[in-house]
């Protein structure tokens, strides 16, 4: 665990180093330390490197860290709840619901007037929660949520929301619909420190709350009946975890669009290395997801520098083959 935390910091430093405008490690460290000391002399003589590092690169790397970590934790939690190692926010339709909410906000012009901080996450959370409520109401049979029906409802809802989202995109003005498309593919743009702080509050609170459910989640991963017979208040835990997951997904989608694969691959990979105990898995997944997205975003903004590609493309292209590799290398162990 400590190794993972340490590795995260190394990766963070590495990601600061690389970019369209390279900054050496020494310079980066000097700039960071003087910024931390609040040295007024340094601020006056601030060169382009300082501005790039502090105003653009650092907030963006921190954002990718938060988004990646949160996606991985939410993915791991949903996998446990659905007892399906391939589940993530997308399978349940939470992401597309959130994206539709955010898309609607952009269409109505709310996104441009009252920028991201207030309106967009709210719309996305509403969309995500709406998706979740619909899935829940379709699925519920006498206060129970049969997993198979839940999955099916999620798949169908996903299709419906995707169609709605495509409709919204198609009636937009061309230049805005282009922005919409890039956002949908998953893009991380440098946030202000204020919005970063709000995000960090939301996402870290959500993550910590989810980690606190780790032990009941272990039992739920065995099956609902087994969990109940071992003393878990199954419905209560499920409801809470679903709402927290929807909130976090809404927040993440509103800032970064649809970044796929992190929520599916990272928990899976961590589970193969550390085992299935969620008390280890969830925190580890946060750091692994954070590292993964920091690296992916660094690649996204450097590979065609000064142009950028949506980070969602990188995560899918990097995550997919990695996933296949893990499957092949573990195949023997799995069928034993």
């Amino acid at each position: 665990m400590l190794v993972l935390v340490g590795m995260s910091f190394v990766v963070l430093a590495g990601c600061l180093r690389f970019g369209a405008e390279p900054v050496s490690f020494g310079d980066a460290a000097r700039i960071l330390f003087s910024a931390l000391r609040g040295d007024p002399a340094e601020r006056e003589t601030a060169g382009p490197a300082t501005v790039i590092l502090l105003q653009i690169r650092l907030p963006r790397v921190l954002l990718s860290c938060l988004v990646g970590g949160s996606l991985a934790v939410v993915g791991a939690v949903l996998q446990a709840l659905l007892r399906n190692p391939l589940a993530d926010p997308y399978v349940l339709g939470i992401s597309s619901g959130a994206a539709f909410g955010a898309g609607l906000a952009i269409l109505l012009g709310i996104g441009t007037t009252l920028w991201a901080l207030a309106a967009l996450p709210l719309f996305a959370f509403a969309g995500g929660l709406l998706a979740l409520l619909v899935v829940y109401l379709i699925t519920r049979v006498d206060g129970q949520l049969p997993v198979s029906v839940l999955l099916l409802a999620g798949v169908i809802l996903n299709a419906i929301f995707s169609a709605c989202l495509m409709f919204v995109t198609s009636i937009m003005e061309p230049n805005r619909s282009f922005g919409m498309m890039t956002w949908l593919m998953g893009t991380l743009t440098a946030p202000t420190y204020q919005s970063l702080l709000v995000l960090a509050l939301y996402l870290s609170t959500g993550s910590i709350l989810l980690v606190r459910f780790a032990r009941p989640l272990n039992l739920l991963a065995l099956g609902e009946q087994a969990a109940r017979s071992l003393g878990v208040e199954v419905e209560q835990v499920k409801h809470r975890v679903f709402v927290i997951s929807a909130l976090m997904t809404g927040v993440v989608v509103s800032v970064s669009g649809m970044i796929g694969f992190v929520g599916m691959v990272i928990p899976h990979a961590v589970r193969m290395v550390l085992g299935a105990d969620h008390r280890l898995l969830l925190p580890a997944a946060f750091f692994a997801g954070a590292m993964f997205l920091m690296i992916a975003d660094t690649i996204a903004r450097t590979i065609l520098a000064p142009a950028e590609i949506p980070v969602g493309i990188v995560t899918a292209l990097a995550g997919g083959p990695f996933f296949i590799y893990l499957l092949i290398s573990q195949k023997g162990a799995m069928t034993r």
Binding site: A80, V141, R215, N218, G223, Q225, R228, G231, R271, A333
Partner: protein, 287 residues
Amino acid sequence: MTSPVYHVTDVRFRHNHNRSAAKNWVFEGLSFAVSPGEFIGILGPNGSGKTSLLNLLARLKHPQAGTIRLFGENLVQLKQDAIARTVALVPQDYLPTFPFSVEESVLMGRFPHQRSDTFFSLLSGMGWESDVDRKIAWSAMQETNVAHLATRSIEAVSGGERQRVLIARALTQEPRVMLLDEPTAHLDLHHQMETCRLLRRLNDDRGLTVILVSHDLNLASQYCDRLLLLDHGRIVALGTPHEVLRAETLRAVYGCDVLVDQHPASGLPRITIPGRVNAGGSPMQSI
């Protein structure tokens, strides 16, 4: 006066998805009681309601009418973890989705005993098991002969070993009642007897009340104090093996002829399938 372990009164139950059908009641007025320290076998043909009954006793399902009392307390009013500290359920089969180790799986039996009210656990929030928890889990693993598998993945052990892991997990709950759904179904002869002896020993030494569902009439006859024979959700017979395992009763319930004689060592009823008549051996007589 000690209250009975279970006091089941007029229980009516049907599965929720059968709401539209007028009939299809699994139980229409089921009543019986279980005393502390009893070893009871629930028998009956497929679909007679054995597993449903076990699920009702573990409160995995709720009856539509009637009451089930556990040590005098109404089952519907108890909290889930309070039930889990008293009653342990060993399910029939368990297909693992995630690679928990055997030791982790057994330790999960400590969940209902976790203390969530202490300051320390609020602070940590992770609910790691204590040394006491580990000790209890370890002795349960030794008792069920799975200690050597501790670090193996639950996915990587055989069906029989997994069955014993589930019994170890149930023991780790430190229950007063153990419910088992066909505990010997996946086991070879050696492990069938091992399991039954283990349950018998727990019953004799610790006064653990055991209620098990079985298709194996002979094992039930040899190890259970009382048998409960179900057919279409009704109790056909409830009593000692001698009282329940009669050729005419079994014929009425299972719809086939069996030979019932006495076990040469224990004197308890022994059930034999008729087989081919006069296939070389001497003809047997049914008593």
